[in-house]
Amino acid sequence: MTSYIARRLLQLIPVLLGITLLVFVIFHFTSDPTQVILGMHGTEQQRQALREQLGLNDPLLVQYARYLGNAVQGDLGTSWMRKTSVSSEIAQKFPHTVELTVVAMLITVVLGILIGVISAVKPYTLVDYLSMSLALLALSIPVFVLGLFFISIFSVKLGVLPINGRMEAALLDTFTPPTNFYIAYALFSGKWAYLKDLLSHLAMPAVVLSGATTALVARMTRATMLEVVRQDYIRTAKAKGLSQRVVIFRHALKNAMIPIITVIGLQFGHLLGGALLTESVFTWPGIGTLTISAVEAQDLPLVQGVVILVATLFVVANLAVDLTYALFDPRIKYA
């Protein structure tokens, strides 16, 4: 098991190498760091001096090797735009994204599986058509449109939820969490007034973010469940007189879980890397917003940092998915 995990984690190396090299090359051909750092004011001499200092006159591969050398030692460099260390910038933003993702995924898992199961149990009925059409809609509507739509209804028209942000300004000013895991802190230290405000800010982005993944999971669940319920052992279970609930949830769903887990796990890894549009619409101070501003500012070290994070999360999520298979199917073993 351990050696399996180790082997899988080793796969991370070529992935990271490939993806960072790609970003490096793209930036090399499309942007001029001296323009980014010095802006409109730098003179040609100052640009030259900076190029020399940043080692931009070296061959591309030498530059890349130098970056890798530092990265391996944990130094992801300094953001050109923010002038702060890339790793601390990411460490600050990551908790915001984690909290949003965890809640969105909770909604996805509960709602997605439930809708999928209901659709599969009552196929080709009104409920099925309705939920599957809704799922198709949720999958095809762009998140920023959905986000703006929600805001215009719940914040602007009804005024029941705040427009955006993580917390109300005056409350945030008096909130002193030790880390940026705001919700976890408010929850565990029993700061209910803060928690209530945090949740009201979280509601819309979490629902919007979960929209597409919930739909995906629902459709996947429905499809695999439809396959499974046709199998003989389900008929046997029914014939034995087991209740519908037990048959569906213990016998059918468990066997249908593998592809569902795959979708959920990959989406989870994907969303942890920051939901670009959702975070941006709701001014959520997470990795997604950071990525957008980094790309806008052509801030190579910051973009590289985010890319490394996203790739790592993805590979780890993939591995986690594979490991959970064994939980649902005892025939699967890792060695």
Partner: protein, 542 residues
Amino acid sequence: MRKTRRSVAFVLLTIMMLALALAGCAKKETTQTPTTETKPTKTLEFTLMAYTRDRPYNTVKDKLAEGIQQELAKAGVKVNIKALPWAEFLDATRVKQEGDAFLLGWIGDNGDVDNFLYTFFHSSQMNGGMNQTNYKVDKVDQMLVEAQRTSDLKKRAEIYLEIEKILSEDAVWIPISHGNDYMAHTKKVAGMYIHPTGYLDLRNVTVEGKKEFIFGRGGDSVALDPALIEDGASAQVVEQIYESLYAYKPENTDIIPLLADGMPQISADGKVYTINLKKDIKFHDGTPFNAEAVKFTIERMKTGKIEEMPYADFTFGAVEKVEAKSDLQVVITLKEPVAPFLANLAMGLAAPIVSPTAVKKYGDKAGENPVGTGPFIFKSWAKDQQIVLEKNPEYWNKAAQPKVDKVIFKVIKEGSLRVDAVVKGEVDAIDGIAPADVKRAKEGAVLLQKEGMNISYMGFRTNRPPFDNKELRQAIVQLVDRSSMVKALYGETATPAVTYVPPFMQKSMETLAGKSGNYGQALPYNAAKGKELLTKLGYMTK
């Protein structure tokens, strides 16, 4: 059967959506220049470089190039647009010198005319600087330097107006427009105004029924140390915490004293500035404000690295030495006489005086622990969310005590939601209002509007064919109906440009020089004359 029907429906739906998407993507052909091959004359055709990023002076991106293309097509001139993303665009136009003409713009730094005219038209600014027209005229070079060397305001104004006259005759640019700056606040707010430089003065702001003022904006500050910043979002906050020796008048960029006690005495050769300081002023950490603090601030920037202190060279590059003659008198000696230096001392970034004790204490973290003499004191900063400032109870300026107890700068990234937030009263004021949202802001809140200290222009490469020909440039300038084009592209959100500098600067110069009527304005629209010139040069017209 049911299944087949369903899949047919799905396929149909997909096809419909694809068709819709394709229809949406299809680019409308905006111009069609018919090629009349029967006529013997040649068509004038040139490449125009454009950028695809929203800028304060041009909110329609490369649509501006299409506007010019349409205007010139009317006369039979063919414009080939090459639109690039911002960074690539800068590289292509500045470094690689691509294109026969290019679109660009400028946001002024210090409010001095020199910051526009010298930057664009002095030959030393060629090769990687902002003089990308490669305009090189000895007389203009000399006059620009002369204007830099005299501290007589009237004489400077006269020289600049003469330069503008030469530039119009030489038709180096088509000055296009000045983007308006917008802010909006709720009906409960009073005491806000827009300064052309973007300088934010919140001392007089009141909010009916509360002592807290929340300002919504599109991005967070990068740092709160005036030495380290170059962006508006940082400057906005820095301007509340720190103060400079001088400041601008609320309505234009004329200079008035702030921490300085009166205007400086400038030596006859224009090199030595003797500045007296106001007494009994303290920084927020209790450090006394004095000549040593001024000396520390300037010397810190003189020794700073440009990649860390982007405005250091611009603001204090001319300084040779700073001496604290007494506790309240500082003498700044310049390497050369540079009259715009005074305007530099009023800037909201780089120029504000910092507390030496605080900078030494916080070192690398000075950008997160700002200490100045200003009306508000830094309280807290949740990165990418909000910055909270509190009223400085010991603010020295008895005539301009801050009226609210707390100011919160809150990030709301999405522009249209920012407008929603002020309309709903979730924030008290906002900035960065896109042209598309202006109407909504006007209806739901109080809209403030002012011509910004910026200009959008089309420059010709004056050093190579086809635009090394002055008459050809004159023809093109006269063929573009700027005022109707600007109206069509921007509606009310931009002002057509008449001169090479923003209107409030032009007005200030004309008042000083005793001249009027947009003296030295660019060639006005005159299609007949433009075509006549084209024909004379052997080009086909329509």
